[in-house]
């Protein structure tokens, strides 16, 4: 055991003597581990972000959409190529479903909003007043629109905080102001609380514009709905609610003409896409680890050549082939782990910086993976140079200059 301790100690003494070379040699591993760990941290952060977004919307949200959106847990490649469009009859029918607490029709499209000079793009959601309850949306300033606003076809809108700040400078100032939506005049009734995020995960909810679906018919003359959201009653299982909805819808449509999707399914599908993307990126980053390993192998061959005499002396003094083999493998592993630790440290620093903007994080598995992979690389790429050292004939080695 003291033998191993001695070898490890002398390996590190060697590194401190050759600081520059040690650093350059392990740089490949540093970069490899750094990129793999950062990418995994991003993947984890993305997963957490998407999860949080869906959690904030509530889990008992069921979407009814035309066509087959999901197939086998992922987005269907054929997409929602369905000719059917929902209308008010479907809404009425779903309102009779026992497990449905709220039935919310949705009209959506991309629109341009302006207040005279600046024009901004936004996503319009035309719906009933229930959408605010179903999606956990509350007004931060002013008010959300009400049932009677919907009935009266009032030209009122509630807008997300981001778009409010963009158009009016501050969120507060937006309340009560006039706004042009596709050249029609509307009044901002309220600014919603921030839902956070946007960008990577899904839709940027804070840039949405909500208006009564009755009013939105100006932009939607055929009175059809893009989707219907059902919020099921809390005491009824999602599966039961989905089954009841399906049964109700099948009175009018064929099974393949529409999809009934709950939050978990949608979340799973989105996650599986990002997980795949992340795996591909991590795999590409892993290539740099192999390159780093080759760098270590290269320098280990140089080390062996430089130290042939030392190897000969050690063999003459009683070192076995296996002793020499281990000496060089340990050096290569130490070099590789050193690189792994540096990469991990750098990744930690970068993740701390990123965390201001994005919930990326390094978990225990990444640490174990980084250290495990770098030791394995140390062994794999160290074993050939070490074998070369061990197989030297003692007499040739000691006579070399």
């Amino acid at each position: 055991m003291s033998h191993f301790f001695f070898i490890i100690k002398s390996a590190f003494e060697d590194f401190s003597r050759n600081k520059g070379r040690t650093f350059l040699t392990s740089l490949g591993i540093v970069i490899g581990v750094l990129s793999v760990v950062i990418l995994i941290a991003f993947g984890l952060g993305l997963k957490k972000y998407i999860n949080d977004q869906f959690q904030s919307l509530g889990t008992n949200i069921i979407r009814i959409m035309p066509g087959q959106l999901l197939k086998g847990g992922s987005f269907s490649s054929t997409g929602s190529l369905s000719t059917i469009r929902f209308d008010s009859r479907d809404v009425t029918k779903l309102q009779r479903v026992k497990s449905a607490e709220y039935v919310i029709p949705i009209v959506t499209r991309s629109i341009a909003v302006s207040i005279g000079k600046g024009t901004e793009g936004a996503t319009l959601y035309g719906s009933t007043a229930d959408i605010f309850i179903a999606l956990n949306l509350k007004a931060r300033y002013g008010n959300i629109f009400t049932k009677s606003d919907v009935e009266k076809r009032s030209k009122l809108i509630a807008i997300g905080p981001k778009i409010a700040a963009k158009l009016f400078g501050t969120e507060e100032q937006a309340v009560g102001k006039n706004i042009k939506v596709e050249n029609q005049n509307f009044k901002v009734k309220g600014v919603l609380e921030a839902k956070g995020g946007g960008g990577f995960g899904g839709p940027d909810l804070d840039s949405f514009i909500y208006m009564p679906h009755t009013t939105a018919q100006v932009f939607n003359p055929d009175k059809k709905f893009y989707a219907i959201i059902v919020k099921s009653k809390g005491d009824i299982s999602i599966a039961t609610a989905k089954q009841e909805i399906k049964t109700a819808m099948m009175k009018r449509y064929k099974e393949n003409d529409f999809s009934v999707i709950d939050q978990a399914e949608l979340l799973g599908a989105i996650e599986s896409i990002f997980a795949m993307l992340n795996t591909v990126l991590v795999a590409i980053a892993a290539v740099s680890l192999v390159v780093g390993g080759i760098g270590i192998m290269n320098i280990m061959y140089v080390t062996v050549t430089e130290r042939i005499k030392e190897i000969g002396i050690r063999r003459a003094l009683g070192a076995r082939k296996s002793d020499i083999l281990w000496q060089f493998i340990i050096e290569s592993v130490a070099l590789s782990i050193l690189g792994g630790l540096m990469g991990l440290g750098l990744a930690h620093g970068i993740v701390l910086l990123i965390q201001n903007m994005f919930p990326a994080y390094i978990d225990v598995n990444s640490v174990m993976l980084a250290l495990g992979v770098s030791s394995v690389i140390g062994v794999i790429f160290g074993v050939f140079p070490a074998k070369k050292a061990a197989d030297l004939s003692p007499i040739d080695a000691i006579r070399s200059e």
């Binding site: 003291s2 033998h3 001695f6 002398s10 003494e13 060697d14 003597r17 005499k309 030392e310 000969g312 002396i313 050690r314 063999r315 003459a316 003094l317 009683g318 070192a319 076995r320 082939k321 296996s322 002793d323 004939s393 003692p394 007499i395 000691i398």
Partner: protein, 222 residues
């Protein structure tokens, strides 16, 4: 203790040129002897020493150590014998420059598979003190004189309590004064501790100080 029987060593220099470094050498070294192997350079004396020291194997013939035939031993067993049975002293000292004097002396002890009956560090310090090098324990080999380096090499050769000290031109790289000192030390070890010593040299004056002298020329014992 050591017996060489019809030992031959040849090197293939080219396709069909074979150089015979040793030709049919028969030789026996008994325990407690002080022997010199003397001959001009190129006579095969170094090859002979490498074979006696188990660093090299003969092309044909047999080497017996305490009755055991060396060619039948595995590489690990040969390593163990080099570790415990022989102590080498080289002309070039062959110390490892990045290790301290003390660490150099301790190298054989880290490769031993048997439990030592003594504390190796204590023994190394005792040897350093005995050779007057107690102040140099933490020095590096390239920071001390040749004579001191050779003394460190002798201390390293003694750390495992070997049966045999094999010295290959031990004074070859030293000035006369240091050389005389090293020779005196080897004689002292032989007399006081009954260690078997074999010195390989080209210098007849050194060979003259040993009780037994084996002369070798053109790979043959005269």
């Amino acid at each position: 203790m050591i017996k060489l029987q019809n030992v031959q060593k040849s090197y293939k220099l080219d396709e069909d040129i074979v150089f015979n470094a040793l030709k049919d050498v028969n030789l026996q070294i008994k325990q407690g002897e002080f022997t010199s192997i003397v001959g001009p350079s190129g006579s095969g004396k170094s090859t002979l020493m490498h074979i006696i020291g188990l660093l090299d194997q003969p092309t044909s013939g047999s080497v017996f150590i305490n009755g055991k035939e060396v060619s039948k031993l595995k590489d690990d067993e040969l390593s163990s014998l080099r570790n415990t049975f022989v102590g080498f002293v080289f002309q070039q000292f062959n110390l490892i420059n990045k290790l301290t004097v003390l660490e150099n002396i301790l190298i054989p002890t880290i490769y031993t598979r048997s439990r030592l009956s003594y504390d190796p560090v204590e023994k190394a310090r005792y040897l350093l003190e005995r050779f007057g090098l107690e102040m140099k324990e933490r020095s590096f080999p390239n920071k001390i004189s040749g004579g001191q380096q050779q003394k460190v090499a002798i201390a390293r050769a003694l750390i495992m309590n070997p049966h045999l000290i094999l010295a290959d031109e031990p004074t070859g790289n030293l000035d006369t004064k240091s050389g005389t000192e090293i020779l005196k030390l080897l004689h002292e070890l032989h007399e006081k501790e009954k260690i078997t010593v074999v010195i390989v040299t080209h210098d007849p004056n050194i060979a003259a100080t040993t009780r037994r002298k084996i002369e070798i020329k053109d790979g043959e014992i005269q």
